[in-house]
């Protein structure tokens, strides 16, 4: 199968392309979705396709070839369309290989896993034990294999596999908690722990009272802090900056977060999206994007790097640079110390539906869900409901007061779109609003 990627590149060059990238992808993922404490459907995928990127006389085209028996004809069609397209003067080529890649292999136990029911049962069991009545979520065994060939001397192979479980536990419609388990090795996978966390929050969130608007000091659980860091790093793609879809334009070297905040994007680190190379074949690496609150770099592919007079950060996607996995440097606070620091504030455990009034200034709102707690002197006073976090992305990160000394890997349904390794965070002066009567 690997030969197909080489054949596509060869064909493209034969037809006059200057740059060609073919990534042959084999997706063998498996999933169980569950709700009301039972599986609702199990899914399996057997898909093999080639993601192709071609440049013909500065005309950039891309496709996914699903019919691999027809790959030559697909490339011919694509080149024909490229010729009718228009030049992109901002494309300056792709990374020149060959490269050496880190030796990483997936856990054979993860690859051999055929049945995930015990993990689902462990998660649900953990939640019910803590007092939950109803659980829903997904278990995934992700597996995909990539064979990448480019016209610039790159040949790479990457077999990726990981385990993921997301569980929402409920005691009623308005009392719920969420837990996440992520692992690249079977021995590190802890679905029961995720279930117990979800169940514990759900039980604690019983009989929530309508929340009150105001400015609060807030403890962000890792899942909701991961949403903030996911938003931040997503907006650090050079593409988002150039498209006017980022509040980080012209802020390199400037303060964009408090001194407590150091954020790294690292596709080579141990996460469930670990990868050996980006879409141009550049080895993934550790990129410090925010260091002690100062913005150090955007995320680049070869073309955007040239535009910003720097080097690629190894974050190429098929078209635009994108983050791989976020690692927030832990702080030196114990989790309990963070809670104790709050005299009168909130503890938020999850959020969803983050939307911006303007990407340029970063004004946003997002809706906390699952456990929302009013805390005094570190103790939970009561559960709240029906509030909205209304603030600004940069201001939120500038107001980070403390981070806990350990991190957890979070990823969840769009809101935390890639793995974010995040601690508990304490943020001051956070705006909270609620629906008017």
């Amino acid at each position: 199968m690997e030969d197909i990627a080489a054949r596509i590149v060869k064909k493209a060059l034969h037809l006059g392309c200057q740059d060609a990238v073919a990534d042959l992808v084999e997706n063998r993922s498996y999933q169980i979705r569950f709700a009301q404490n039972e599986p609702v459907i199990s899914n399996r995928w057997r898909e093999t396709y080639a993601s192709v990127f071609l440049v013909h006389d500065k005309r950039v085209v891309a496709t996914d070839v699903k019919d691999l028996s027809d790959a030559d004809a697909a490339v011919e069609r694509l080149v024909k369309i490229a010729k009718a397209s228009q030049r992109n003067p901002e494309h300056v080529g792709i990374a020149r290989g060959p490269f050496k890649y880190a030796r990483v292999r997936p856990d054979p136990k993860v690859l051999a896993l055929e049945d995930g029911r015990t993990f689902v049962e462990a998660a649900i069991g953990g939640a019910l034990e803590m007092g939950a009545k109803e659980c829903a979520g997904s278990f995934w065994r992700y597996e995909d294999e990539h064979s990448l060939v480019t016209s610039s001397g790159v040949e790479g192979h990457d077999h990726r596999a990981s385990l993921y479980l997301s569980i929402r536990a409920m005691t009623s419609l308005e009392s719920s908690g969420h837990g996440i388990a992520c692992a690249t090795r079977m021995s590190q996978f802890e679905p029961e722990k995720a279930g117990r966390k979800a169940g514990r929050i759900a039980a604690l969130a019983k009989d929530p009272k309508p929340g009150k608007a105001g400015k609060y000091t807030i403890v962000f659980d890792p899942l909701i802090f991961g949403s903030l860091t996911d938003n931040a790093v997503g907006r650090l793609s050079a593409y988002a900056v150039l498209a006017g879809l980022s509040p980080y334009g012209k802020k390199i070297g400037k303060r964009v977060a408090s001194e407590a905040v150091t954020i790294v994007d690292d596709g080579s680190g141990d996460s469930i999206s670990r990868k050996r190379f980006d879409s141009e074949g550049v080895p993934t690496r550790r990129n410090v994007v925010i260091q002690k609150g100062i913005l150090k770099t955007y995320l680049h592919n070869t073309s955007t790097a040239k535009r910003f007079k720097t080097r690629t950060t190894g974050n190429a996607g098929l078209i635009a640079p994108e983050p791989h996995a976020v690692f927030v440097k832990p702080g030196d606070w114990k989790k309990d110390e963070i809670f104790s620091e709050v005299k009168d504030g909130l503890w938020l455990t999850n959020t969803w539906y983050t939307r911006y009034q303007s990407y340029v200034n970063g004004n946003l709102s997002t809706i906390p869900r699952d456990g929302i707690f009013h805390i005094r002197k570190g103790e939970v006073m009561e559960a709240w409901k029906d509030v909205r976090l209304t603030d600004n992305l940069i201001r939120l990160l500038r107001n980070v007061v403390a981070l806990s000394d350990t991190t957890e890997q979070m990823m969840w349904w769009g809101e935390v779109s890639i793995p974010n390794h995040v601690p508990y965070a304490l943020i001051k002066d956070v705006g909270i609003t609620r629906s008017a009567e």
């Binding site: 950039v60 983050t354 340029v360 029906d386 349904w413």
Partner: protein
């Protein structure tokens, strides 16, 4: 296509042989062309030729689904084996059942004036370049301009073990754009999204250039003349874009039966409407909200859903009360009713679940001028930018993009960042007049895991709300 139809038939028959009590197979081919024109530069042209087959089975009271793009008998046999094995291994305590539906054999297609496949890519690019050129000719400062034009030609062949065989063709066209207008260090952003089921004539129907220019001018006017929006209780007139998003978010989503039953609880969430909530009062008697897949040229047009059930109009809220849930065959069985044809999937490789199609507030008889005439002091919010709603679909926020102060029925200066933050019943109960104007916009509706961002239309007339809190 004949070979693919044979594979669908084979998948269904083989699944029954393997012990499935019900089986369905769906072949899809999606031919896509889309490009981004960013700040006048054609970033990249994406040309997709996607196709594959998915099979869903009911075995032992549980569901299994598997998909492949290896369109051979061995390839299909493998996924049928997967789906049956997965279903049987699930061992649910409460068996899943499907509501009874008639078997359908049909072949439908969306009329396509000028075929999308016949329009050269250079013509498509030139169309959007011209819009960008006219925009720049306004002489405004528009430092970030992002246009994405996408067309998709979707061919499906569906078969199930009850004898349904359905072939369909849906050409779709969509433009999404983002603009940032700047003046004296201040900025306004907008995004708009228009869709069309049909051929290239949709571009003319959009009247895109005029709409984009009008939008940019209004943004500049907001920057030049905009003042702080008044805060407090007052009357509000909303435009079709705001009616549409409210219809989608606080009527369409909470009436999705799978959400009501908790199947989406971990992702898209649940609903403030309980399973026995039909008849519950949520708005004034003027409020009728429909979802209708059969509206010609609306981007989510279809005549049969992805479970082979005929599509029809659904009155979700009628005279201010919850009237009907959106159902697929699985949820309909739970509610002891019939599916109303709401099962949709974004592609062959995911299961069809309960989805909205074209959701809208039903128009009535008042002109915009008549709606405004009744306002002594308030705000006309023509369009919005930021929005969100909680996962039980009860607390929504819409932040104004283009909005004006209204005094004694007259539009005054623009007001900026007007915020509506209300519960679903508060919003819909405040409606005291509904306009006769009507517009649809397109949206991507997100749901399920893996996520399915699906074409949807959101629309309605202008509406007047009395005495609501704005800030």
């Amino acid at each position: 296509m004949e070979a693919e139809q044979d594979l669908v038939d084979f998948a269904v028959d083989y699944a029954r042989q393997r012990g499935a009590t019900y089986a369905e197979a769906r072949f899809e081919r999606q031919e896509q062309e889309n490009f981004i024109l960013k700040n006048g530069v054609l970033d990249a042209l994406y040309v997709g030729q996607d196709r594959g087959l998915g099979v869903k089975v009911l075995a032992g009271g549980s569901l299994g689904f598997a998909a492949t793009n290896t369109l051979t008998k061995p390839g299909v046999r493998e996924i049928v084996d997967d789906a049956v094995h997965l279903a049987k291994a699930s061992r649910r305590k409460t068996p899943i059942a499907f509501a009874q539906e008639e078997a359908i054999t049909t072949n439908w297609s969306v009329p396509e004036g000028k075929k999308l496949a016949d329009v050269p890519v250079e013509e498509k690019i030139a169309e959007i370049r011209e819009v960008d050129k006219q925009l720049m000719a306004l002489g405004l400062k528009v430092p970030a301009r992002y246009f994405q034009l996408a067309d998709n030609r979707i061919i499906k062949y569906f078969g199930n073990s009850e004898g349904s065989r359905i072939r369909s063709y849906s050409p779709r066209l969509r433009i999404y754009y983002y603009l940032t207008v700047v003046r004296e260090g201040d900025s306004e952003q907008t995004h708009r999204d228009y869709g069309w089921s049909g051929g290239w004539e949709g571009v003319r129907a959009w009247d895109l250039t005029n709409r984009v220019l009008e939008e940019a001018r209004s943004m500049d006017k907001s920057l030049r003349e905009g003042k702080k929006s008044p805060e407090g209780k007052m009357d509000l007139v909303v435009g079709p874009q705001v009616s549409g998003i409210a219809a989608h978010e606080s009527c369409g989503h909470p009436t999705e039966a799978d959400r009501v039953l908790g199947r989406e609880a971990s992702q898209a969430g649940k609903s403030f409407i309980s399973p026995d909530g039909l008849g519950m009062k949520v708005g004034s008697e003027l409020v009728n909200v429909c979802d209708d897949p059969t509206i010609e040229h609306a981007i989510a047009y279809y005549l049969t859903d992805d479970e082979g059930v005929r599509a029809r109009r659904r009155y979700l809220y009628k005279e201010g009360r919850v009237n009907e849930f959106l159902q697929n065959r699985e949820t309909a069985a739970y509610f002891r009713t019939r599916s109303n044809g709401a099962a949709r999937a974004v592609n062959y490789n995911v299961e069809a679940i309960v989805r909205m199609a074209n959701t809208f507030v039903e128009p009535k008889d008042q002109s915009l001028e008549e709606l405004l005439e009744g306002v002594k002091f308030g705000v006309y919010m023509k369009s919005f930018m930021e929005w969100n709603i909680d996962d039980k679909r009860y607390n929504a926020k819409y932040a104004g993009r283009e909005a004006y102060l209204v005094e004694n029925g007259q539009l005054k200066h623009p007001v900026r960042n007007t915020v509506i933050e209300l519960t679903t019943p508060t919003f819909w109960s405040a409606v005291d007049a509904v306009g006769k104007d009507f517009e649809f916009e397109a949206g991507f509706c997100g749901k399920s895991d893996p996520g399915q961002a699906l074409d949807a239309s959101l629309g309605g007339p202008s509406m007047r709300l009395r005495n609501v809190y704005l800030r």
